[in-house]
């Protein structure tokens, strides 16, 4: 009788252990943050899951600020942000957070001017002036001198910007802050700023929609969005003085130009990057990984995913109109993965 009981108990325990082990194989990761890279992230996580069926990464694009906050609150395993965390934020954080750039993004100026169908060239002073409200008409000399031969009307410029906080705005205002001291002092850079003039559209499609419908308007949208929806946009003058049209090559060139002086924690702004072919309104977007991860299964999964993302994952970028990271940056990041413990 006792033997039988013992046998039953032992086999039950073994059974439970086996069950636990089988379920323990499943690694569920929750992540939250930036909306801009959501399409490429969802592609990556899906492909990674197919290759590693026991790892499920659930990413929700609730916004960069949301990502940072949820990471700090401990409700997600890692976060994502279009703008790097500031020194104050990192100091205030209860635990150390590492930044890993994943893809490159860019903002492009999109416009709708009656009678103008070609590509316009914009100097940085022109853009700053337009968005500050100091340049009010399309035939202002700052704009016409960069576009000889184009018949710009003397109509009022209608400025369109983002109403919701977003990394897209961060990139644009970062660029404008470098282009104009006036902008830097009056408005500054951020995911949400106090726009001196203009209408606010919600999301890329809000801005694009308003530009399309409002005569003589100008707005800024993500390159991915413009490319996917066939929206016409203009060229921007870079630090080397050339007018560059945003595309995957020119955006990667901007990152390559900045790679030499990149800080070890990868928190760098690459707007107005040096280089003849660099597109000036480019930026990284980052994954925010805690430096210490308690759960060994989760830690290994995250580290493995980072390695995969930097090597295999980058192949998928161009298909979705995201620029790849330049080689020097990738090499630095691969080394940095060992910092996650």
């Amino acid at each position: 009788m006792n033997m039988k009981k013992t046998f039953v108990v032992v086999s039950l325990l073994l059974g439970m252990a086996a069950l636990a082990a089988a379920q323990g194989g499943q690694v569920l990761l929750n992540a939250a943050g930036a909306t801009f890279p959501y399409p490429i992230y969802s592609k990556w996580f899906d492909v990674y899951h197919t290759a590693h069926p026991n790892v499920q990464i659930n990413y929700q694009s609730i916004g960069s600020g949301g990502g940072i906050r949820q990471l700090q609150a401990g409700t997600v395993d890692f976060g994502a942000s279009d703008g790097p965390m500031s020194d104050e934020q990192l100091a205030a954080s209860k635990f150390k957070i590492l930044h890993f750039p994943t893809v490159l993004g860019a903002d492009v100026p999109s416009y709708n001017i009656s009678g103008v169908s070609g590509e316009l060239n914009f100097t940085e002073k022109a853009l700053a002036g337009i968005f500050l409200g100091t340049i009010t008409k399309w035939n202002d000399p700052e704009i016409t001198k960069a576009n000889p031969g184009v018949n710009l009307p003397s109509a009022d410029i209608v400025v369109i910007h983002r109403s919701d906080g977003s990394g897209t705005t961060y990139i644009w205002t970062d660029f404008l802050s470098k282009a104009s001291d006036d902008w830097k002092n009056k408005v500054g850079k951020g995911t949400s700023v106090n726009w001196p003039v203009g209408l606010g559209g919600k999301g890329n499609e809000g801005v694009a929609g308003l530009v399309k419908q409002t005569p003589n308007s100008i707005g800024y949208v993500e390159l991915v969005y413009a490319a996917q929806n066939g929206i016409a946009f203009g060229k921007v003058q870079n630090a080397a003085g050339k007018f560059i049209k945003a595309d995957l090559a020119s955006v990667t060139a901007a990152a390559a130009g900045a790679a030499k002086d990149m800080p070890a924690d990868f928190r760098v702004s690459i707007t107005n990057a040096p280089g003849a072919t660099a597109y000036p309104v480019s930026s990284f977007t980052w994954l925010l990984i805690p430096a210490q991860i308690q759960d060994p299964a989760k830690r290994d999964a995250i580290k493995d995913f980072l390695k995969w993302m930097l090597t295999e994952g980058q192949k998928y970028n161009e298909g979705l109109t995201y620029a790849q990271l330049p080689k020097p940056v990738i090499e630095k990041e691969l080394k940095a993965i060992s910092l996650v413990q």
Partner: protein, 328 residues
Amino acid sequence: MSAASTTITHEVPPKSGLRAFVDRLRGGDEIAHLITLIASAGIILITSLLVLELWRTSYLSRTKFGWMFFWTKVWDANFDKFGAATFIYGTLVTSAVALVIAVPLGLASAIFLSELAPRWLSDIVSFLIDLLAAVPSVIYGLLGIFIVVPLMRTTLGPALKKVLGFTPLFAGPNYGVGFLTAGIVLAIMVVPFIISVSREVLLSVPREQREAALAMGATRWEATWQVVVPWARTGIMGSVFLALARALGETMAVTMVIGNNPQISASLFAPGYTIASVIANEFTEATGDLYLSALIELGLVLFLMTFILNGLARILILATERGGGRPA
């Protein structure tokens, strides 16, 4: 009753306190009273907890700005200057426009559905209108962008300008987005509540009321407008409450069509901003502690506005109730 069937009556002494209580308890009324009371108290508890939470998390902003928060027009995340004035204005204006459009429209539809339409038609149409309440606000926003905004910019706006352009209400440039457009989209969103509840209330008005009026020679319309509707007055106002509440708190749809420019302008064509919109737009991206706290304080301000508006509306109801209607 004949003497033969009189029952014998004893003097039954009233039960002592405890037994009476237990009996009443078994009777069920006390328990029913208690359960429903707890449910009602629960609502008060939830709301209080909500306000407390808002109060707590808006601490930074409240202590920094004090009362100035109400009339500061600036909203600047980069320089940490926040004020609610433009949003309070936007919320009031859009809700007012929405009600001005939705109440007549909704009441008229409800009257049609309850008084004129045959029952089968009324049921089907009412059912369809209820569906409007289920459309996600994101979709209302998208439809606003694709249909209402172009309509406003190309057709409706210029027409209004031609007729009423001399008034400050319709002055200034017309971009398609703005207070008026937001008000129109809101009106469509809240009209189902008015129609649904008003229709049911009108249907429940006793037939005798209508018949009495008609018997005295009133036309259908006169009977409806002067007898039936006043009888259902409190119920109809209740539906307007529902509509107002929805209009005040609507987040997604308004932000897509209002232009999102924090400013105070007399013109309905001008772009503006509401409290709910700015919270929806900026909350997920807000990283600074003061910034977040200011957004939460805006939520508190909206709560206060709802408090005051509801109070005014209640006073209005009390005043109209005196004038006659269904006895409360």
